[in-house]
Symmetry: C2
Subunit: 233 residues, 2 copies
């Protein structure tokens, strides 16, 4: 009997894991002995805050991030010979908007069972709270970094939203939030609606939906807080 | 000070709410006195299983579902004069793939605060566990019921998946699962990958990703279990 892969979500910010993770997720995080994580330091801190007692130095950690090559991922199939493995990302759901999906793909190819555990998804929490279309939506990942390409991508996004009546979920690296918000106000049509959802699940949570013309009159000040943007044309 | 709208997720099946909902969600569900729900009967059962003690007959319930018209939704703004309101859907996240978004939209228009609580999303749990592209994905809601239109929509889906390298998440009403799965095997290209994710978070959970040609050799038997399908061309 080979091990299974458990997908263990983590909090979206510096809040208590017990507030945002259900009992089954916390129990599994405390029980596993072998983890594949995006960064070992933050994964250790999460596990210790999740109530892991005593044996954190006995745990086995392997990193899977943008620096991991295909051969290293393939070699991880050996981990399952010894038992169950947990996959943890930096924040939120593993394998959504992060590099973990390569390990899940490996498990399906090897016939290993994959078990997703419940936890916070910044994308879905923002979508639920947006009031925009939750019956049809898309997440397009990060847009291009170069200004012209990013603005073109935004216009494409708005066009797709209009033709498919599809909410478009977008994230940006936090230090670019305010520049990106300015781009949104500049590129999108006055009647397009935009949700700004910052610090989701944290005490400073801010989630507001307005039309672009309303935002232009009174823009948001986001700063470097983690933020999800949703556009519906 | 007007009330806030709390979005309260519920379990995806007949499991214990305490297993799949974090402490903060359970506490809020037990504390609120006024609810907008998709169906009163199932919402009462959920709240009672979530550990609500004693006062279930004192709670106020209002239904919001596909039979609710716009004027009725608008009238719900009065509920917030008396205090906080909870929105609960039949299963999983309110306002995602259900009619609740209309109430959230009302709150944004009235300047009322909306607070999304953490809980299980069948779409995200299936996506995490699929091993398919979690950096770009779309949910297209229900496809048309008529066979020809549905097959055309599926081919469109596959085309969009290929051109945008976008995982396409699809759901079907459970009694049509097997017919829909047969359509998928018939319409899609042999190398397109397909995830079948049934009974997510339940003991009978089944989540497998294979290529269409592999599925054709050994099809899944889904039956009437709630199921999420994900396609990546």
């Amino acid at each position: 009997m080979k091990g299974r892969l458990y997908l263990i979500p983590s909090p979206l910010g510096d809040n208590d894991p017990a507030e945002v993770l259900p009992a089954s997720t916390l129990a599994k995080a405390r029980e596993l002995k072998c983890f594949v994580v995006e960064e070992i330091r933050t994964a250790r801190r999460f596990l210790s805050r999740a109530g892991l007692k005593g044996h954190i130095e006995e745990l086995e950690f392997h990193e899977l991030n943008e620096h991991t090559d295909v051969a290293e991922v393939e070699a991880m199939s050996e981990l399952f010979e010894k038992g169950d493995v947990g996959l943890i990302s930096e924040a939120g759901l593993p394998a959504v908007a992060d590099p973990g999906a390569a390990l899940v793909d490996l498990c399906h190819r090897k016939g290993l069972e994959v078990v997703p555990m419940v936890g916070p998804s910044s994308l879905m929490l923002a979508l639920m709270a947006s009031g925009l279309n939750g019956q049809s939506f898309a997440f397009c990942g990060y847009l291009p970094a170069k200004t012209d390409e990013r603005r073109n991508a935004l216009k494409e996004c708005e066009k797709r939203s209009r033709s498919l009546h599809q909410s478009q979920i977008i994230i940006e690296t936090p230090y670019r939030n305010d520049a990106f918000f300015a781009d949104l106000l500049q590129c999108l049509s006055p009647h397009t609606r935009l949700t700004v959802a910052a610090d989701i699940t944290l005490p400073s949570q801010y989630i507001v939906t307005k039309s672009i013309e309303e935002w232009r009159r009174k823009p948001a000040s986001i700063g470097k807080r983690p933020c999800v943007f949703i556009v519906l044309a």
